[in-house]
């Protein structure tokens, strides 16, 4: 299980950020070649990201790149650069249909073969940013075995819906639809960015909501949000204690060759054991919630 609570956006044209961001403890780093980069800097940002991906300091971190859409003059060049540089995951913006993912996969495979990279080693994630994308979310999530997750992108989505960001009501259906699609397809689900970095209470309220809904994690725009998010996603002490007892009971049953796991006289199902393992993984990564 790869822990993906936090996915930190890094503007691809900012050399200082790319050179130093590895000091932050985000689970994934998302180098952005799309909206964070002006049209006149697309070429140089692409090269900055190309070389940053190869930095030894990022070697053990999950590296995601948001490329420009393939329909633009930049998308294919972005893809060529990042697949060759060894990116872990390509994030496709404005994904409306499963065909968008299929087109991306065709290009990725062509580049993998051309540069000698193992075919299939480049994972994909789709950003859903429109009403069409939300309606097609399940097909998108299942469009390729390379898909590791789908993300809701709030700004373009609310524009498409002819509304605006507010208390979250405007995102309610999209969040639920994207999350259900991800879980049905067995891939990760990522929530929108929270834009006001000075509104800690608002951020934590939104994090609490998406955690309870079941999202895997959240896209972040500022390193200050990482620790807040990780702490909110950390399990409480009683959750950790219970998870330890469940995992211990499962191990004991395994040792004894028992097919059924029981704890305090109650049967424990496999999904409960899997959940307990996830709780312990989160606790190992970010401790117990403060």
């Amino acid at each position: 299980m790869t822990l993906r609570r936090s996915m930190l956006f890094l503007p691809g044209s900012n050399a200082a950020m790319l050179s130093t961001a590895f000091v932050f403890e985000a689970d994934s780093f998302m180098f952005d070649l799309e909206d964070a980069v002006s049209l006149r800097e697309k070429d140089t940002a692409r090269l900055l990201v190309y070389h940053a991906l190869k930095m030894p300091a990022y070697a053990k971190r999950e590296k995601v790149v948001r490329i420009n859409p393939l329909s633009t003059p930049f998308g294919r060049l972005d893809l060529e650069a990042v697949v060759r540089a060894g990116v872990d995951v390509v994030r496709l913006p404005k994904t409306d249909t499963a065909e968008d993912v299929a087109d991306l996969e065709t290009e990725v495979e062509r580049i993998e073969r051309a540069c000698g990279r193992e075919v299939g080693s480049t994972r994909l994630m789709a950003a859903i940013e429109s009403a069409s994308g939300v309606v097609n979310a399940l097909a998108i999530a299942k469009a390729s075995p390379r898909i590791m997750g789908i993300a809701l992108a709030g700004f373009d989505y609310v524009m498409d819906m002819q509304t605006q960001r507010g208390d979250g009501t405007e995102l309610f259906y999209a969040r639920c639809a994207v999350l259900h699609a991800a879980r049905a397809a067995r891939v990760d689900a990522f929530d929108v960015v929270f834009g006001d970095v000075n509104d800690e209470a608002g951020f934590l309220k939104e994090v609490d909501l998406i955690k309870r809904l079941g999202f895997t994690g959240k896209s972040l725009i500022n390193p200050r949000q990482i620790e807040l998010l990780h702490n909110a996603f950390a399990p409480a002490q009683e959750e950790v204690d219970y998870a330890r007892r469940v995992v211990a009971a499962a191990a004991q049953a395994e040792e004894k060759g028992l097919g059924v796991v029981s704890l305090n006289g109650k049967m424990v199902d496999a999904p409960v054991i899997a959940m307990a393992e996830r709780v312990l993984q989160r606790a190992a990564a970010s401790g117990v919630r403060q």
């Binding site: 050399a15 790319l18 050179s19 140089t44 930095m55």
Partner: protein, 98 residues
Amino acid sequence: MNIVRDSIAGTLESNDLLVKVSPAQDEGLELHVNSEVIHQFGAQIEAVVRETLSRLGVTNALVLIEDKGALDCSIRARVQAAVLRASDATGIDWEALS
């Protein structure tokens, strides 16, 4: 790679550099490096720039570097971007950029 026009890439922000590339005034490569850390890293910066230019096949050009403490990876990226902007090349040789 032929340099046929003036170009600029990069910024003067900390941890970055500004690269100016122009057609050569005389035959050969003319390189000038200014850096806040010229005494500690001047030779290293020049070596990275020369290696990057060599891999791109740039042999005739005037190259000016204004460094603000950039890492080698940023130096490579900015020099490559400036050269590609200044050249008459139509495609990108990714092997030469690696």
